[in-house]
Every structure is written in C-alpha cells, then in structure tokens.
Symmetry: D2
Subunit: 197 residues, 4 copies
C-alpha cells in the first residue's frame, strides 16, 4: 500500500535538502528513484534540484502539460519525489494521488503552502486536500517562532503586498515569517482591511 505524502514548509526551510536526503536513502539501499522539479524554476539550472547546503541532483521537469500516470514510472521506480510541487495543477495532483494508490510506488511532493499574500497555491491546496500524510519542515521567523508564512520583499528589503502569485526567487526575494509578525508589521495592517468583512 503506497501513499501520497506532502512535505511542506515556508520558504528557506530546507525542503530541497530533505528531498535530496530521501532520494539518497533509497539509492543507498540499491533502490531507484525518479525526481521531478518545476520547469519554470531554473534558479539552479533547468532540471536541477539544489539545496542551499550545496548538494544537488538532476531531475526531470514538469509543466502544465505533464500527465502523471503509469507511463511516467520506470519499471523499477521505488519512489517518485517532486520538488516545487506548489506549481502542480490540481488535476496533476489528482493524477499523482490516483497513481500512488493504484501503483505500489510512494509519491513524495515537496512545496510551499501559501504565497506571499498568504493565499493558497492551487497545487498546494489540492495536495493538502488529498495527501495521505503530511510532514512539516520547521522554518524559523526572525522572532524565533515557527514560520508558516512567506513575505515577498522588493530590492530594498521592504515587504511587497501586490503582484503576480508566481515570481521565482530565494532568500533575496522571500522571507519566512510567523503569522503574528506577518499580520502585525506594516504590510500586515493593509491586509487587515482586506479581511475585515
């Protein structure tokens, strides 16, 4: 019986490190893994998963047209690991969930829960709705509490509260925050009006 697991965290918590360690664990035991990452995230190069601790591994890429059915699994695949899974479409998450439960291959998706405004990514919402297991990777806020939110910063380091949901970037563009800091700093105040009624 295999499952779909969603491993989530705020930005810069080490999701890619965990993915690479999980892959290493399978390979070390002589088992084959398949890695995917989003085609639109080329920070480390196309089809490369790289951790901020300096380790990396090649991966296939997915885009909006990728169909995750039996055909993507190699015969001996022991585990399918997908990074940047917030960029999956809901229908692709549904395919992965079905695939996990109709093949015997466990599927581990790594990604963010919310965007820079605290709103769901459609792919993450689907993963949170369907996944059999969750694993949270602990990110830390500047105040020391658990960070679950992602704030976007402009070039001066000030928080941005408008813009496209998808804007690829790392430390220089995003900062993980606990909800209290997220709501109570200046940009947070503007948020208050938008959720008043």
């Amino acid at each position: 019986m295999s499952q779909l697991t969603f491993i989530f965290a705020a930005m810069n918590a080490g999701k890619s490190t965990l993915l690479l360690q999980a892959a290493h664990n399978y390979v070390e035991r002589g088992m084959a893994v398949e890695l995917y990452t989003a085609a639109l995230d080329t920070r480390a190069g196309l089809g490369v998963i790289r951790s901020r601790l300096g380790i990396e591994r090649g991966a296939s890429t997915f885009n909006a047209d990728t169909v995750f059915d039996h055909r993507i699994l190699e015969r001996d695949t022991a585990c399918l690991l997908i990074d940047e899974s917030q960029f999956l479409r809901p229908v692709q998450v549904r395919q992965l969930h079905r695939l996990a439960h109709t093949s015997q291959v466990p599927i581990r998706c790594y990604g963010l829960r919310s965007d820079f405004l605290g709103h769901p990514f459609a792919g993450s919402a689907a993963l949170l709705t369907l996944a059999d297991e969750f694993e949270e990777v602990r990110a830390v806020c500047g105040c020391g509490k658990k960070a679950t939110m992602n704030a976007r910063l402009d070039a001066t380091g000030a928080r941005v509260s408008a813009g496209e949901q998808t804007l690829i970037g790392g430390n220089e563009r995003y900062i993980a925050m606990c909800p209290r800091c997220f709501y109570l700093d200046s940009a947070g105040e503007q948020d208050a009006q938008s959720t008043a009624a």
Copy 2:
C-alpha cells in the same frame, strides 16, 4: 502564544465527539469556551453540536456574514471551537488565523477536507493553507484502510458523481472511503477520464 488548529477527517470519524470532549476538558478545569457550528447544518437542530455517540452541546451559529474578529470573543474565553468548519469562507478563516495570533485565544476548527468528488471545500483549503497545527481523526474504509475520501450515495446506496457540493447529510448519504476504493469502484472509473489530461 496561541494557534489555529485544524482537526480534519473523512465523514463519520467522530469530529464532533472530539470537539465536545475538548470543550469538556476546558470546562472541567473551570475555563470558558465558545462553540460555533454552521447555521446551514440543522441535523441536530439550529445551533446544536451532536455526536453520533449521543452527546451534544449548544453552540452559536455562523453564516457567510459572520465576522470573526475580537468582538466575538467573550472576555474570559479560553478556547474557541468551531464545527463544520468546511463551510467557513476563506476570508473568515483568515480572520480566525489573525485572531488566534493577535488575541491569546487558541482556535480549534473541525471539518472535512474534501467533498464527495474529492475536491476541496474553499473553507477547508484555507484552513489547510493557514493552520499552525493539524490533527487527523482516523476514519476507516470498508476495506479496513484509513479513509480520507467521502463518497455520496443516493437513496439506493449507489454512488453519486454529480451534484451540488453542499448537501447536508450523515451516514445515510455519505460513506468514508480509502483512496484506492474511491478510485477503483465504478464511479471512480468515470473520475479517471476527468483527470486523464
């Protein structure tokens, strides 16, 4: 530091029992609680949370216009517990998340993750995106595995695969299923086409 916790499960797992037990634990220690349930769910009567084990408690009701800010909290409220929270609107979940992190009152929301087609409820997707902690209540499928999906049945007990997302009902209308049974029975096959591409 208080938090927003989302306690989720498939249908008929005992979410209301857990809510009533959590409320009992606070009251037993001399602490005041506030209970809410959805105005649109009058199975046990308006503003009544009842468990299938026969225990019940009165509750305030929420509807689409309810604003969950400081004004709903009594001065001595030690915990706010909300049943049928899949019927919250995303903006209400945002208010609850902000309230948990700016008042010192922990907030516990109990509800379903997905509807009878395996699609997210908007309120649940928001709770899954923002909640600080998750607690899963284990429901069991007819095959014995963990049930995470909810299938809707018609009066003859056959699965229904079209209809409104919201249709209030209990055992007679819904059955909890594991993903494998959900996908592999007849209705599941029709689902396969819809997620093929």
Copy 3:
C-alpha cells in the same frame, strides 16, 4: 499492511472517549472490534471502558500474564483497541508490535506517557519505542497551555511528590499540567534538586 498506533495524552484528555469513538466507527461499518482494558483499573467496574462523557463499552481485561499473540484475535477482528496501555509490560508491547505486523489487524493502544513524577511507565516507554504511528490527544493545563504532565494530588488538593507509581484514580487524584507549571510550582522545586546532577 497493519500498524501499531499509540494514542497518548495526559490525564483527563478524553483517551477513552476516542477509543470508544474509534470502536463505534468500525462497528458502524459492520466490522468487528476487540477491546481490552487493564484488570487493575476497576473504576468503571471490571472490564468496562467508560468515558467521562458518559459513554461506555464492555472489554476483555489484561494482566501481567496475558499473552498477546494470534490466539487472542477472533477470526473476523478488524481492529484491536487497548485502553490503559501504560499498564502493559514491555514484553506484551513487543508481542502486540509483532502481532500488528504479522497479522493484518491494526492495533490501537491508548494510554499515558508519564507518571506523577514525570517518569516513564515501562509499557508506555515500550510503546513509544516501537509504535509505527503516534496520535496525541490534547489536554489543557490550568494556564491554558498544552498539558503533557500528570501531577498527583492528595485529599487536600496539594501535590504529592512521593509514592507508588501505580495508584488508580481520576480527576480527584490527578491533574494535567504543562511542563512549565509542573516544574515551577512548589513540588516542582523539589524536583529541581533531584535533577541537578
């Protein structure tokens, strides 16, 4: 593939309510369950599991001589549920762990983690060491934080810091506390010396 799950909490969190709800879920789906509780806990009568919310169910009892191997399982048992599992002997936990993984019957043990001095029960330590999954039931301290410790009270309500590990009782004899309150009240101070070096 079945598993051994340890559902733990501090005193008075509602562990028995959860056990009775889980049993109800199986029976409601037409599946048979087997219930066990400790012979030495006769608060609700010998072989009765009763929740403080007033619901109860009959159960077989276990003592130090009970051997948990295939012979205790009825042919159609879908789940084995054991209350007061802190009173199991480590060898019995080992038998249950083996049974869960060599039969196809999931086993759910409900119990405390620590005694009134914060020390492990041998049975709980074995469950915490071997169980495949944990589920924590949230108990609340008088200060509102999560309670994970159990303090014992004498007839006047004062904390007791010496005595037998096993002394059956409920609300009148035990109170759940968060670690901070457990360590910082008077009895907690005496504890400080004992852990200084």
Copy 4:
C-alpha cells in the same frame, strides 16, 4: 514559549542532515545556535556533526557528566540542537526539558528510538516520555516500507542478535528495517521465543 522537540528515525535516515539544515536556517537569519553531539561518537572526529551527504559542522560534546542547565546557554542562543541524543542519560533529558520550559530557548534533540534488538535507549525513552513535539524522519526498508527498526550486522553482513547496546557504527554495521522484515527474517525468529511469554 519554547519546547523540547525529539526528531527521531531509524539508522541512516538523515537525522544529522536535518540538524545541520535547521542550524543553517537559524544562522541564515542572523540567529546564534549551539550544537552538541555525543563525545563517544568520533566517527567524524571529536565534536563534529557530519551528514552522509557530505556537510558538517563543529559541535560541543556531551558525556555522562554534562549538566544541561542555564549555564550551558550563551546569552544569545536562539536554539540548542543535540545530535546522537539516544546517548543522553534520563536525568540529562529531564534537565533539557526543564531548560526548554524555563528559558525561552527551543531545544531540538535528534536520535534513534531503539537499539539493534528493538529495545529502548534510556535517553530516547526519556525523550519520548517528555518531549513536547515529535518529528519523524522517514527511513526506508529494503522492501520499500517505512523502516523503524535497526538491525546490527557482522562483518559478513549477517544479523547479530547479541552484544553490547552501544557499538558505534554506520552503514557498514547497521541497517534500517521495517518491523515485518525485522521480525520475520531468521534473527527475528529467535526473537519470537524471547517474547513468547
């Protein structure tokens, strides 16, 4: 409010990688961390935490005499991270639990749950009894299931079922197994007799 978290897994799951990533997350946000590892584990050199993915960091060492009270915390320590925590003594775990709840410094202990015979390490049993939160790092068995047990191998790769609890080693000496494989291979059979009554 800070907490004691126990991050556990079977052998070779990547516990040290996670510890080093967590430390990196704090340092990247300009916050100071303190790292400890067991003096008796010199595989990577005395006072070095090294991950099998090739990353490492210096650490203080603890032994049986180390007292974990306020004096070990530097003024600006934002998090205390301890590797190989199965080698802590129960009284040291008690000190760490008290320290987490009386200072404002979160403490994260990384370690094994059970030894090569499936028995608790005393330090792990204490951590499992007292820790406020658990995080499990998934290790994989040769059969693909989740590995929670640790088998010891001799120089020929055969399982060993007798010997000292503490024998430092890595891949060459230990292999992570799921309970079913642990119990059902030859060495597992001998184990059956020892737990029969």
